[in-house]
């Protein structure tokens, strides 16, 4: 019985760790897409953030400097996205693809040139990373069956950025639904002409949304390379940006359902790693790829309206042309 409890605790802890970058990136996408700017470029911004964080943490020895560098680097790409899509009314999807491509190439080239480790950065030690926080009373409660371990290893024991991601969800919900900025943000994604008529600048509002997206993507990238991981590797985001986008779609562009989507994807990922070669009851051993592709299949079915219906913000993908 204790084995089962251990297994569950480790599964939950791993789910939380895997969900964190997805939550940060999906919330990042939330701001941009609710403002009417489609962002395929979450992946590239995360990757750039991950590299900037690891490189800076290596150079300075400070995870905080790494985090700041990640946010700054990701913001630069966000500005490029805004410049192309908002200022020059370029195709938002194409701009996102460009950002992902530039990020994939540039991080690899710079990592190779600066560190000469074949596209990696040096391994970071404990002082250069965000480590798990030790919650009070962890040791005292260790003896309590299940709950003690849940407290010590799932609720506590995570690194700072995990808690930041947890806080970001209610904060985003509050900003989007309880503040003036949030109201305008959602309005500009549905009907920019109305916002414009009210005398509010559509480009400035969208730029702010895109910048928030950039900052959150930077944090997500830093999490990968200097919190969860201990250094940067080529293409270390490995599709997480797209998965975050899928979670946002699954959550119908709302913060809490998006969080649920991220947790679901993270849980399938955590489960997949644990079910490798394990024979399940009734069906026997299932190829891990089947579990691995569940999030993608779910997204396809959902977008096609076979399982519920996910409708994007009305003005998403369209550049706003101000009429005279």
């Amino acid at each position: 019985m204790d084995d089962t409890a251990l297994w569950i605790v480790s599964l939950l802890a791993s789910t939380v760790r895997l969900a964190t970058p997805l939550v940060l990136a999906a919330l990042a996408g939330f701001y941009s897409e609710r403002a009417g700017v489609v962002d395929i470029g979450l992946e590239g911004k995360m990757l750039t953030g991950a590299f900037a964080a690891a490189a800076t943490a290596t150079a300075t020895g400070s995870p905080w400097a790494g985090l700041a560098a990640a946010i700054a680097a990701s913001l630069v790409l966000a500005l490029v996205h805004g410049f192309a899509c908002i200022t020059h009314r370029g195709d938002q999807v194409v701009a996102g693809v460009a950002i992902n491509t530039i990020a994939a190439g540039l991080t690899a080239v710079l990592a190779n040139a600066w560190f000469d480790l074949g596209g990696r950065t040096p391994s970071l030690d404990g002082t250069q990373r965000f480590l798990g926080l030790h919650f009070p009373l962890t040791d005292a409660l260790r003896g309590v069956p299940l709950l003690g371990r849940l407290y010590g290893e799932v609720v506590g024991g995570q690194n700072l950025l995990v808690y930041l991601a947890v806080l970001a969800v209610p904060l985003t919900s509050w900003v989007a639904y309880r503040t003036r900025f949030g109201l305008r943000l959602r309005a500009v994604g549905e009907n920019p002409a109305a916002v414009d008529t009210a005398g509010i600048s559509v480009p400035w509002l969208r730029y702010r949304a895109v910048l928030i997206t950039g900052a959150l993507c930077g944090v997500a990238g830093a999490y990968l390379s200097i919190a969860q991981g201990a250094g940067f590797q080529e293409n270390m985001t490995a599709g997480k940006g797209y998965l975050a986008l899928a979670a946002l779609i699954l959550g119908k562009w709302r913060p809490y359902p998006t969080l649920a989507g991220c947790l679901l994807f993270a849980a399938t990922d955590a489960l997949q790693a644990r079910l490798q070669g394990v024979a399940l009851p009734v069906v026997g051993a299932v190829p891990v790829q089947i579990i691995e592709v569940l999030p993608y299949i779910l997204t396809v079915l959902l977008l096609a309206g076979f399982v519920g219906k996910s409708i994007p913000p009305k003005a998403a993908g369209q550049a706003y042309v101000k009429d005279r």
Binding site: T101, N112, T299, V300
Partner: protein
């Protein structure tokens, strides 16, 4: 709209030659800055790249070999674009298409290559078409966004191939996730065999007969888009779906067909990579060619001639980049990916940035023209 100008009055030669040249120039400036940032001399590095790509017979043959795959994926992206669809799924369609080609080559061992080739082409096109058609159907009939669906299908393709090559298709007794080698009779003739038939001796090079197939496809796409009813429908749907519907066209069928053809073209990458070079189904044989097709199609402005030319350019970049990284340890071959991204940015997302400036420059009477329009 007259034949020699675009709707905004920019001369055709400027659209077709000057804009791509400016985009390429911008990409070169950015990549020079990157090379400078890593402490190397951009001029000598770029000169070395050019020499590596076209300075020798070997280099040139590699350039053409890369270009072959890029013509397929570039055409695939372009044809979908004409129908107003952004197909990011070229990568997955090429991957699954290669599975079809590979299965045919495995099944028909002992057959001569010229008998295998038509079947392999059909199978590759069919498998790729299915992988493009499903997202097309979901977009046309279920309203899901083609971009997201094709991204998801890339992941699905990747998982499918990892599963097949790790289990059902793996060569017996081997650890590497690849199929057994095809029978030698099914190999597409490469430069070496063709040269030998003509009485010359060359080293083993990857360039093979599929380049001809790629050029035929380019001709076929040109004919389809500008000289058939289907092509007209695709362009109309791409320009204005509502108008196409109003004119009595079936926009939904057109979207599905365009995506199927797009997937079929991407699916032919396997002819070059598998039947031509690897001679077995391997993991990730398409190696980013599907994504590079986006840059190729944008740079080639959707026209088959432009696509062939920009495929040559990107083929040269791939080959030159590989040579460069042999010579300069500090420069990763991934520099090509940066250049590719910058090209997508400038010729795709920022196409509206240079255009008005060019318009002002090339049309001094622009204010008067604007006055007429108003």
């Amino acid at each position: 709209m007259s034949a020699s100008t675009n709707s905004d009055g920019l001369p055709r030669w400027a659209t077709l030659a000057l804009l791509p040249a400016i985009n390429l120039g911008a990409a070169l400036v950015v990549s020079s800055l990157v090379i400078l940032a890593i402490g190397q001399d951009p001029v000598s590095a770029l000169a070395f790249m050019v020499k590596g790509a076209v300075g020798s017979g070997t280099g040139l043959s590699y350039t053409l070999y890369y270009a072959t795959s890029l013509i397929f994926t570039g055409l695939a992206v372009a044809i979908a674009n004409h129908a107003g669809l952004f197909n990011i799924g070229g990568e997955g369609q090429a991957y699954v298409g290669g599975l079809g080609t590979g299965l045919v080559c495995l099944a028909l061992s002992g057959w001569p290559w010229y008998a295998v080739l038509p079947v392999a082409v059909l199978a590759g096109a069919l498998f790729g078409a299915v992988w493009g058609l499903v997202p097309g159907y979901l977009q046309a009939y279920r309203g899901s966004h083609i971009v997201i669906t094709t991204i998801m299908f890339n992941f699905l393709a990747s998982a499918l191939m990892v599963y097949l090559l790790g289990g059902p298709l793996i060569e017996h007794g081997q650890m590497a996730p690849e199929s057994r080698e095809f029978a030698e009779s099914t190999f597409l003739p490469a430069v070496k065999e063709i040269a030998a038939a003509l009485g010359y001796r060359t080293p083993t090079l990857p360039l093979n007969l599929s380049l001809i197939l790629a050029l035929l496809c380019a001709g076929g796409v040109w004919f389809l888009i500008w000289h058939t009813r289907w092509g007209f429908q695709m362009r109309t749907v791409g320009a204005n779906e509502a108008a196409a519907r109003y004119a009595g066209m079936n926009a939904r069928t057109t979207i599905v067909v365009a995506m199927a053809i797009s997937g079929a073209l991407a699916g032919l990458v396997g002819i070059n990579e598998l039947q031509g070079v690897q001679h077995r189904i391997t993991l990730n044989f398409q190696a980013g060619m599907g994504f590079t097709g986006i840059a190729v199609a944008l740079m080639g402005r959707g026209h088959p001639v432009g696509i062939v030319l920009s495929s040559l350019l990107f083929g040269a970049l791939y080959q030159g980049g590989a040579e460069l990284s042999f010579e300069y340890n500090e420069i990763s071959p991934r520099l090509v990916v940066v250049i590719q991204g910058v090209v997508i940015l400038f010729s795709g997302a920022l196409e509206h940035m240079f255009r008005p400036a060019l318009l002002r420059l090339l049309k001094p009477k622009a204010p008067a023209a604007a006055g007429q329009r108003a």
